[in-house]
Assembly symmetry: C2
DNA sequence: CCGCTTGTTGACACGCCGCCAATAGGCCGG
DNA sequence: CCGGCCTATTGGCGGCGTGTCAACAAGCGG
């Protein structure tokens, strides 16, 4: 009987790629980009290091895939927003956002702040896409169908407020969910009713 | 006559340290943390690579110094806020913030988003300090002398909104300064009058 | 049971980083 | 003016992380 836990085994390319990606998501989520080496990923995946380059090319491309996975959020139930007056809808979208971000808080909240590598062009584009998606969700939730570029930018700013406030709740633990909810609904109503007129 | 542009020259330790730090600030400001090697810094400073380790220890410590420099902002003129009613003071602090961030926008705005290395404990602490300082400025500007931890956290969240909104103006160029000013004053007034009661 | 496709490996070359003994710049006393 | 000493500065060594590529073998088809 051999001690070898991993004899050489052939997998389907998709399966192998998925397995490596899962390990990478976990490791990059725990530590940062610079703190994780491809050797670590290879070891924990029980795979030769060269295989990572074979499937993902470079380390940065692997990290890019990881970011995309972390920022991918079930955009379901967005249409199931209760059609009420503006305060009701604002309350609903804020609650929905807090639910989502508290579930996979470790990954989404960490990735949206570029846990370890901002400044890279591709990574920034991926984060931009995620912020855009969240901003679109906010706009449609408050009943704005046709948005000007300025309004879209303001919605992006609001997403920035939402993430920083959520961080005070989930990571620093100094705000309660109720406090975060009140802050986000009040500011959202203010922005929609008082500021969006400039766009 | 020799082609050598840099014969070996002795400098005062402080002067040499300052010179290397200046080059590092410029390079880390342009590209990220991972994209700049200590060899690059040494070459552009006309210095042997080992000297960087001699003065700053490790590359991360050098980057930490760079972050501190970028986040250091003249906290002057904060006491010179016109003592008026709340809307006046809110208007003043927002205008002051926009002035400061637009002056050295390239450095401060880039550093506050951890251009290249978030997740590191020391770097995060440096950014936290800067956010704390900005939050304190906001709180004192709106006339709050004794603040609870929750109110401080909300002020930190507001700083997050301010930075993300400023980024839409200065980096993405899709908002005007007037729009940013209106958004930030309106939301600040809302937070102070409607949300701070929960703390 | 054999051969062929191709998933997988191991090693090579290169660049970056931290470290340290050796070197020389330039002030200072004679 | 000059020799000696302090120390700022250098260059190279060892180790590690990454990308590449030819060679290997797992497992299916004949």
């Amino acid at each position: 009987m051999s001690i070898e836990v991993g004899q050489r085994r052939r997998f389907s390319p998709d399966a192998r790629r998925e397995q490596i990606l899962a390990v990478a998501v976990r490791l990059f989520g725990e530590r940062g980009y610079a703190e994780v080496s491809t050797t670590d990923v290879a070891r924990e995946a029980g795979v030769a290091r060269g295989l990572i380059n074979h499937y993902f090319g470079t380390k940065k491309e692997l990290y890019l895939e990881v970011i995309r996975v972390m920022l991918t959020v079930p955009p379901v139930a967005l249409a199931s927003l209760p059609p009420g007056d503006l305060p009701t809808r604002a309350d609903a979208i804020v609650g929905w956002f807090l639910d989502v971000v508290s579930r996979h808080s470790r990954s989404w909240l960490a990735a949206i702040t570029a846990g370890g590598m901002a400044g890279d062009a591709e990574v920034d584009r991926a984060i931009d896409s995620a912020v855009d998606a969240a901003a679109d969700a906010v706009l449609t939730a408050v009943g704005i169908t046709t948005s000007t570029p300025a309004m879209h930018a303001m919605a992006r700013s609001y997403v920035g407020l939402a993430t920083s406030t959520a961080r005070e709740w989930l990571q620093r633990g100094v705000l309660t969910r109720a406090q975060v909810h009140r802050l986000l609904t009040a500011t959202l109503l203010t922005m929609v009713t008082q500021v969006f007129g400039d766009a």
